[in-house]
Subunit: 338 residues, 4 copies
């Protein structure tokens, strides 16, 4: 790291900083400019708290040189991770993942019907919510355990992996016993206890970006999971909060190439939650694939106006079919397949 | 609610909307403009999902008329809530609350020393973290149960209520057995399972605003807690995420008068997390009180550079004493006391 | 518009609002709910200031029903505008526009060389800055009049339209005498005097979205230009300001379908300014085209490290050639051509 | 500045960077870490374009050490600037400035009446708009030259300085001939030609923060003005754009202590534009003064519902009187006066 001293830092202050760094095993290399002195410090940052230096007399700022995550970083693992999610499906390779299904599991018949439809149109992973995070305490919260059973039945019938969210540390074991992929929702991206808990399972984790999380914070959340021994993390960009109100969130399309530069983990685009409006789902899904995402997650419902949640952003089966046809062409144009 | 139809909505589309609304017990009042028709609908919104109407043919948008929260709303309870937090202390009245202490409980001796100092300077509630949410999985996570015991001892010795955070549904019972006030941190403001769980306790809840939460979402989080029967919710503005990087977050000072217009719940200002820099803590604390907050939460540490967490934003005891002296004058200037 | 009254609005207050609306020629339609009264008002909103009603006793809020822009709106003109920018090039049709060139015009030889290169690779419009808005007063501000002459020479030699920015009302006449397309930069999107002035020319206007402008504000800026009689406005999405710092701005890809729903004006994607980093330009350009943009504006420089400005986001000619090859395939995949 | 090399940077790449820096007169000090090499470079940054180094092979990033502004910086001038704005009034000293008046100058009689009222209540500078930036091209744009005359008459009659906005380089001479203080509005904070032009006058400049400008960009805008020889710049915080919609903008109260740490220029709080709602003006004004602002700018109108613009955020005279009474007490509490 680099310690930047104030313009008027005294020699004794500089010496004190060097001394403290040395005490923690750092080698120091001061550079004396005309106005400012900076000190390069080489050593193991984990041995010292930043504030221990930052708050010393004469110190203006500290510039870290290394990214804060390790296991998620490309520095550790250069080749891209291809994650086996079961039932013969992988995420991160040349074949794009398409996770589709209704927002919530609303009932057995309905979910099975939707599952068959999305499979027929080319989806290779089923999505659905059994535990639903809802802004209002009075809204439908999901079928919980019953929903998990329904999803499992559909996954088995159609030989497809299922992806579903867990919201509570107490439910991790239950969800892990049914799901092929465990989803951490945007609102729980920094629920650190939950991250640790899913890190202890052997299931791939689908990690949505927090509503207003930076890319660094997101990769630190992945690091939490990986630090417990679970390397199978799949990132999902689902839109960030900005001042613009014409869409529910703002899909950060450049997060796709940025994460691909920083991490070996695959990334999926979720145009449904990003836009909150079925009219914009297809253009944003196409944008995500064209930008290099490893797949999409999209909400499909045969009767959006009857959907228990997120109806306005759900695609009807025929619109989903149109989208899949377009995505196939775009995938081919960039040398991938669906 | 008001249903706004598209410019070219057909008579049959308008009729269909009215019919569906009527089916759910709404009275409808269409208003035919030159270009647009709008339909006023009177009834119980909880009987219908918005999307059921929004996605009908010819519908452009729906404008809700009522706020989504009820128990937290001033419509239900006009007079301000004054919350008894134990040990003779209340929040929401004419006497301002001052919650002070180190970010984390670091050890018995240290916490007791800090507690005595902040009490001597005029704090009336002790704060400290036993369970710490940390961005990095490799950082100090708190003393957990041991930290709770230390806080309780300090609270009892000094006859002061203690406020500490819970991060996991599995720890609610434990934390509730020690704490006078249970804190929900910014990162867990939409951890809905946790909100429900603390709503089942009989302890006052200190609800921090989410990192990028709107005021409406914040009050809906309060509603979650209150919907379980716990009316004792204290709001805490701790800065929101914006594009500005010279402070850790941006303290939203206008959230103080805005919440006071919308809800009967008291609101506390947290200048420490808002700014992330001890230099700006005092001006922002004074701003919060001048704007009408019911108190402040502030981090105090006798050796910020040794602090296990949040050292850079902690006030040294002498700076805390200066701040308290200033706040007393400002409180007096606006007819309150500390 | 809809006037929402407070819960406890008195009959006399409702009557007073209706009376004032009637005075301005509005028809009023009150709807009496259990708790709230709302008043539908039909008439010409331009006859009245909103605040004249909003501030009346008993009024809680006003909800406008119509969008604030007219000329830019699809309500006025349903079919998409195809704008003739000279030299046989149009923007808004099936053939995508590619505006390319260096950020600044740095000299005659260099610009001519770059112009020939980008034309050879398939660009059909030349871009370059003669007047440069720079954050620092000490940075290169452009060749001004000399730069315009160089661009014109290149445009004539290659039979291509040229697009360049104007920053000052005093320069509009000069720029209009050289340029085929006049650019309004992001920082001047709400420089209303400048908008009016370019609205008086007969040149197409390339209107960049403001750094933190909503889509409605952007379309109101277009309305300013159009209200002076110039209908030839081309929108350009160039990234918005958010909290994320890994890119210079956040490219708002959903602005493409959103504007296409609201306005008949064409929209161009600018991945260079959006990302600020050459590594992310190609993925974001592809995303923009896949989402339905009418073209791209991209900075190309044969020696980015020598560029007078915006070097870090400039593509080298060979990378531009690669991008054009990819874009041709994506354009074909969505039924367009380059 | 510090050049950070990639993990795998080759010796030859490091040597090439050092060589180029040396060519521009920099002394270089490489520090070789276990994984990364960083190079400290001492010299005059203005001699080199950042991109010339940033884009070299093996370079990961550059960290500037010095702030980009000089004249506005405390490094150049430590003591706070006290700016003489005429008629015996100064801004930046112990006596707080109160700029008050209607948003727009609407007519001679009205403005004179308002001016007398605000003076009677303790305002010491008159504000009013003769040229009005309006989001809609169809809205009232101000009385222009006629408005300037009216303001001058009021200023002379009451012996008060007047502050009014200029929006166009062509109007600078005219506005400077009437006004005591020239305002640059938020939308023009990066209208660099206008900044240069007002920098050439000898009038104090009232520089509003841009709608979404960082504090660094704001101080660079001040630097533009000062680089033309005009040192009399007064900053004005008027709220920034965030995702929160319950106020028109979010008043960034911490910008007050932050700018006071970085610059010698005084800073004024504008609660009217920050909140957009008269109900929140007083609490935010008090917060600004408590946080250390050098004064406030506030809109006052005797008939807000008749105001040509910004009625909803204007205080009625009696509310302004109440605010002044409160501010006097708060000013006294922090050792200042009004």
């Amino acid at each position: 790291m680099i310690i930047i001293m104030h313009d008027n830092a005294k020699k004794s202050e500089i010496a004190a900083v060097e001394e403290r760094l040395a005490k923690f095993g750092f080698q120091t290399h001061p550079i004396y400019g005309e106005k400012k002195t900076v000190i390069g410090a080489i050593g193991d940052k984990r041995q010292i708290r930043m504030s221990e230096i930052l708050l010393m007399s004469g110190v203006e700022n500290i510039v870290p040189i290394m990214r804060p995550y390790k296991l998620a970083s490309k520095e550790l693992k250069k080749e891209k991770s291809v994650i086996d999610v079961g039932h013969g499906v992988t995420i991160g390779g040349n074949k794009l993942a398409v996770l589709a299904g209704p927002c919530a599991v609303e009932g057995r018949e309905h979910f099975l019907r939707m599952a068959r439809i999305v499979k027929a149109e080319g989806a290779n992973i089923l999505r659905g919510g059994a535990f639903k995070p809802r802004t209002s305490p009075y809204a439908f919260g999901g079928l919980e355990g019953e929903g998990l059973k329904i999803m499992r039945e559909a996954g088995d019938e159609l030989d497809m992996p299922i992806c579903t969210e867990v919201m509570d540390t107490r439910d991790v074991e239950l969800v892990a016993s049914y799901a092929d992929i465990i989803q951490i929702g945007a609102r729980n991206m920094q629920n650190f206890k939950l991250l640790r808990e899913v890190g202890k399972t052997n299931k791939p984790i689908f990690l949505k970006r927090g509503l207003a999380s930076t890319i660094d914070e997101w990769l630190m959340a992945a690091e939490y999971i990986m630090s417990e021994g679970n390397d199978n993390v799949i990132l999902c960009e689902r839109g960030i909060r900005t001042y613009e109100t014409s869409t529910r969130n703002t899909f950060d399309v450049s997060a796709i190439p940025v994460t691909q530069e920083l991490t070996h983990l695959p990334i999926i685009a979720d145009p449904s939650h990003a836009t909150g409006n079925y009219k914009y789902v297809a253009p944003v899904a196409k944008a995500g694939i064209a930008a290099g995402a490893d797949g999409i997650m999209v909400e499909v419902h045969d009767c959006p106006e009857c959907a228990e949640s997120d109806g306005p952003q759900s695609l009807k089966p025929e619109k989903f079919a149109d989208l899949m046809a377009d995505l196939k062409k775009i995938a081919a144009a960039i040398g991938k397949e669906i």
